[in-house]
Amino acid sequence: MMLQLVAVAFFGVAAVAFGIGVFRTRSMVRSALSLLGAMVAIGLMFLAMEAEFLGVLQLMMMASEMTIMAIFMMMYMMDPGGLSQMEMTHQKRTSVGAGIIGGAGALVLSFLTPWGRIVASAPAPGAQLHDLGIELMTRGMLIFETAGFTILVAMIAATLTAIVRQK
């Protein structure tokens, strides 16, 4: 239990550190892969909290997502390697203000929420998988199908708008 707590705290701090790294670098690819580092740290937090499936899923999905983001950042920015000291941040006052308000809000919420008793033992990983499958096929089916269908429509629409019609 103590070891788990230490691991959760460690990966939490690592996630924040990588998150800061996203804005502290001038290289687009470093920035994107730093965000991947933060996501990996969150995945490891899930693993430390015995949510094995969520953790593995997080590790799997984020690797490709963040790297795909990296290539788009590289394509669209004029200085992807950060060689000419391009500024990564903009609208500093607004973003600092928004960050402070958001962070304070999250802190207040985390203290105000009645979390209930801390559960020491999670179900076995196999049972978690089973429960998740049952959830997806019964109560959550409509939600997930709607979300999936919406994303599919968005993908097709985005592809169609990107295609240049040849005459």
Binding site: V29, L33, S64, T67, A70, P125, L129
Partner: protein, 299 residues
């Protein structure tokens, strides 16, 4: 399984795969060749290109190695002989293999060379083409075993191998596995003769040694994965279980290394088009087929 046994198994496996690779490329069987090549690389200067992204350049070979080892750690060699028996083992293999792509993109970007960068991003495109063909056949395998635990997947094949009951998934997974290890005809990120070595082009000396070692380990990992998911893992008569796994793995590795040499390298847009227009529909048909057989044949 103790750490020492696991390390010995890794070393032995990598050695055998290295020999197989030399055999498929040169046609000669030389037991000492891997050692000679390895020591030769150790003796060479390890150059760092001008203005590299030093962090990525140094991390990439290690990350490739770690990704391959992590994926191998959840695959069983014999009953009880498994690194970590995860409840989500089959999914974890895929999660670890996703970092192969991250490592190659890092290697391509970090070296600050045009060819290596193109090669790195090319492998990202290759991942988009093959990743669904890794996940969806594994889904069908998991359906039959009713579990993602790799040892349960092996025991679910006691009556019949998955390669026989799901031939479509087997073929798709094998092709995708070759694409993961960027073996010919899927060797787009190294592309000898076209990109001057690609992601490995700027690596020399000991760094190149780590990179090559990681690639061999990757071939070994995928060969074990094919054995475990489709060829019944350790199951087999007479011989001890671990020997069955090793025999099957080596045969699969030899096939993976050898077969592609007779096919011209695919172009990346063809790979993407075929992966999505042919591969994914076939993978869906495979899932449907397995579902039908599970419901009808063996209720």
């Amino acid at each position: 399984m103790t750490v020492l046994a696991f390390a010995l198994l890794l070393a032995g496996g990598v050695y055998l795969v290295a020999m197989l690779e030399a055999w498929t490329t040169t046609g000669r069987f030389r037991p000492l060749a891997p050692f000679v090549r390895g020591f030769a690389l150790l003796g060479r200067e390890s150059l760092v290109p001008r203005q590299p992204d030093r962090l990525f350049f140094e991390i990439a070979p290690m990350l490739l190695l770690v990704a391959a080892v992590l994926a191998l750690a959840v695959l069983p060699i014999a009953p009880g002989a498994i690194g970590v028996d995860l409840a989500t083992g089959a999914l974890f293999v895929n999660a670890a293999l996703a970092y192969v792509m991250v490592a190659l993109v890092m290697a391509g970007w970090g070296a600050n060379g045009a060819y290596s960068m193109i090669a790195g991003w090319r492998f990202l495109g290759q991942l988009v083409a093959y990743s669904m063909l890794i996940v969806m056949p594994i889904t069908a395998v998991g359906m039959r075993a009713a579990s993602l635990v790799t040892t349960v997947i092996v025991t679910s094949q006691t009556t019949m191998w998955n390669a026989v009951t799901q031939p479509l998934g087997f073929v798709l997974f094998c092709l995708a596995a070759m694409a993961v290890c960027f073996l010919p005809p899927f060797d787009l990120p190294v592309a000898p003769g076209e990109l001057a070595g690609g992601v490995m082009g700027e690596y020399t000396g000991v760094r190149l040694l780590v990179m090559r070692l990681a690639r061999l380990l990757l071939v070994l990992t995928l060969a074990v994965a094919i054995t475990v998911f489709y060829l019944g893992g350790w199951l087999g008569p007479l011989l001890p279980p671990w020997l069955w796994t090793i025999t099957k793995t080596l045969l699969v590795a030899a096939a993976m290394l050898g077969v592609g040499r007779f096919v011209p390298r695919l172009r990346d847009e063809h790979l993407l088009a075929w992966g999505w227009k042919i591969g994914i529909p076939l993978a869906l048909v495979n899932i449907f087929w397995v579902g039908i057989t599970l419901l009808v044949v063996s209720p």
